[in-house]
Symmetry: C2
Subunit: 243 residues, 2 copies
Amino acid sequence: MKIEIIGRGNVASHLAKALSTKATVATVNPHTLEGLNLQADLYILSVSDSAIREVAEKLASILGKNMAPVVHTSGTTGLDALKAINGRRGVFYPLQTFSKDFDLDYSEIPIFVEGSDPYTTDLLKETAELMTKHVYEADSDKRRSLHIASVMSCNFVNHLYALSKQYLESHDLPFEALHPLIRETVRKACSNDPAKVQTGPAARRDMLTINNHLSMLKDDENLKEIYEVLTNSILNVYEWHII
Amino acid sequence: MKIEIIGRGNVASHLAKALSTKATVATVNPHTLEGLNLQADLYILSVSDSAIREVAEKLASILGKNMAPVVHTSGTTGLDALKAINGRRGVFYPLQTFSKDFDLDYSEIPIFVEGSDPYTTDLLKETAELMTKHVYEADSDKRRSLHIASVMSCNFVNHLYALSKQYLESHDLPFEALHPLIRETVRKACSNDPAKVQTGPAARRDMLTINNHLSMLKDDENLKEIYEVLTNSILNVYEWHII
């Protein structure tokens, strides 16, 4: 299989690395498209969301009516961003944050694929299976749901860490002291159903501790609101309310 | 050093295991106190928070005026729960969740100590250093702040995982697909300042995506409120508001 990866960013270079042992992979500069192989089996457009349409138009003018699918790698962009493409289109979305300087185990990365037609969907599945065993079909709606869930489980979680660090440091305590507990929480949640390993004052309906915490947070409206909303949400699981 | 650990729970047995290669450790049934060594150097009371006072009273009646410190292991209980003790008192608080069936690397666990006097504080530091390099002094106020931070970074985080799992499954998607991203988020947050590696729609002020997400969540008041509060909190870091 011959794959052309159009892009120069982190996702493009990680995809090239992950696929290069299993397929013939070339990377192409998205600004010039210089050296593009017109006989490839698959074109993966890995550029920023806002550049997809423009690069797709440029690509379409070179490829003409293409038989080989053209796909993008964005989780938040629909298939219609590739409407300039006069042929098969798709999405090849790896759900991971790619850092330049950190090696990832590609076989653990889930890849979500969508094709404009069955041939494309199958080709994308086969391509994804070259690098990982976690391959799923997902249309735009499902990718949007995934995105919301990753905002909750990653962006919001990271923000809670940032707030905890700030809070601890304002009390002369190091955030590092929480690292082992943070890691153990994640290990437990990813090897069980997280709802079943929920601990803490709200899960055990410890209203005394909850009210103590709220009074300790009374001068920090933001932390207090977050504490209340998440505590109520945990209590709701048990059909129980504090406020 | 001779250490008597009074308790039969997870914390008691993990502490006994962690200290047994470095000290002479015996564990004692908290109900009977049978076989208690009256010549020990340290008594660690590792029982449920609500049982500390009662067991301390029983212990005081056997020890009389003790020279060797008596300490409890609770993060949420003050030194005064040991007021029955006629002598040195303290707190020896390991910040970790202990499961029965999972081996932990004790050298990574932070231990927070407090003594009623300098002799006790020093003894507790030395004891903690037998099992870990992460030893801190923390009085009741600091332990309470630690507890709030661990509620935010562990209990609330686990709840966000539980909500994400429920949300994904209601959209026919597996929570497992998020595991690699969740693990990578934690790895990044614990090897950097989490505030500096914040990603997601709120961090990049992507109001279009935020409003799309809010409209997708419009039938789930609980998720919508959590999404709003945490998004606003991230935006606040940049002095920016949506709602």
